[in-house]
Assembly symmetry: C2
Homo-oligomer: 198 residues x 2
C-alpha cells in the first residue's frame, strides 16, 4: 500500500458517459461508506448523502435545473463551468447529471462553516472508491450552484433534505460507457498544481 | 483493490502529535504527487502547494497566527474550532500546526469559485497517501481562517504565494508520535454522515 496506492490515486479520471445499468447495492454502499469515513471539521459528521436512483426524480431535477439556468444570464467573471450550464440550458435539452445509475448529492448544515470542504472530502473518497470498483464517477456542481433556488430546495426537502441543510456538491456514479466497460484511467497530465518547497 | 480499499479508506484517522524526525524526500513527494492528482473544477489545476519544513518559518507562522487570533474575540456562532484557536491564543504558547515535519499549505486563486473544494480534494488525497506510507497527518484550517490578514499574507507572498492567491487549507504531516510509531488507524465510529436513498 504505497507505490501501488500512488499509482491508484493517479489513475482516477472523471467519467461523463454511463451505461443504463443499475448498481449492485453492495457496490453502491461501499462507495457511500468510503464517503462517510471522510474526515470532518471537529468530527462534525454532518454531511447528508442523498442518493437518487429513481429515474423520475432524476428527470425532474434535470428539468428544474434547466429551467433555473435558462433564466440566468452569463455575466462577466461567472465561473466558466456555470456559464456553460447557462448556455446549455438556454439551448434546451440540458441534463446536468449525465444520466448516471445514481446521483449522490452531498448536503450539509447551511450555518456550518466547514460544510463545503467536508462535502468535498466525502466526494473525493467516493471517487476513489468508485475507481477501485471499476465504476465511473464525476463531480456534479450544478445543485450547489442552485442551492438558493426556492423551488429546487422545496423539492429536495420533499425528498428528505432537512430545512437546515443545503447541497454543497454531488457525484454522478455508474458503469462507464466505454469499449472495455472500464473507466478511462489515463489521467490528464498535471501541468498546474505547482509545489513550492520552503 | 476494492474491499481492501474500503478498509484502507476507513483506517485513516487524524494525527496531532509528531516525532521531531524529518521526512524522506521520496515520501514527501509521493504525498504531494497524490495531492496534485486530485480532480479540479474544469481541470483548472490551480492549487499551489506550499511545503514548509523550515523550523524558523514554522515558528514565525505560529507566532503570527497566535498574535492574530489573540486580537480576536470569541463571538456568538463562531465556528467552534476557530473559537478554540482564539481562546488558546489568548492563553499564550499556541502553536496551531502541531510542529510537524512539514506543513503543506494549499493556496488557490482568490477569484476562482472552486478554490476551496479543489484544495479540499488535494488535502484528502494527501491524507490517504500519508496513511498508506505510515505517516500521520491532520487538516490545518488556521491559515485559511486568517487568509485576509495582511501581515500573514505579506509573509506568505515573501515565501512564494502569488498576489492572486490565498490559503484555503493546510495539512500537518510527519511521523506519528505513538508507541509503535504507526498512525492510530482506529477511526472514530460514524454516527452522523447519514444516507437517504431515493
Amino acid at each position: 500500500m504505497n507505490k501501488e496506492m500512488l499509482e491508484f490515486i493517479k489513475s482516477r479520471r472523471s467519467t461523463r458517459k454511463f451505461l443504463p445499468k443499475p448498481l449492485e447495492r453492495e457496490k453502491l454502499d461501499a462507495v457511500l461508506e468510503a464517503g462517510r469515513y471522510a474526515p470532518s471539521g471537529g468530527n462534525n459528521q454532518s454531511t447528508h448523502l442523498i442518493v437518487i436512483e429513481d429515474k423520475e426524480v432524476l428527470a425532474k431535477l434535470a428539468a428544474m435545473a434547466e429551467k433555473a439556468f435558462a433564466a440566468m444570464e452569463v455575466t462577466e467573471g461567472m465561473y466558466k463551468s456555470m456559464a456553460g450550464s447557462v448556455r446549455a440550458a438556454k439551448r434546451g435539452g440540458y441534463v446536468f447529471h449525465y444520466q448516471p445509475a445514481a446521483l449522490i448529492l452531498t448536503a450539509n448544515q447551511k450555518d456550518y462553516s466547514n460544510n463545503l470542504v467536508d462535502c468535498a472530502c466525502v466526494l473525493e473518497n467516493m471517487m476513489l472508491m468508485a475507481n477501485a470498483l471499476d465504476l465511473g464517477s464525476v463531480w456534479i456542481n450544478q445543485m450547489k450552484w442552485l442551492n438558493d433556488d426556492p423551488e429546487i430546495n422545496a423539492y429536495l426537502f420533499s425528498l428528505g433534505m432537512k430545512e437546515s441543510e443545503r447541497v454543497y456538491g454531488g457525484l454522478a456514479l455508474g458503469y462507464p460507457d466505454t469499449e472495455d466497460g472500464l473507466p478511462n484511467r489515463t489521467a490528464l497530465p498535471r501541468t498546474g498544481n505547482e509545489v513550492t518547497y520552503i
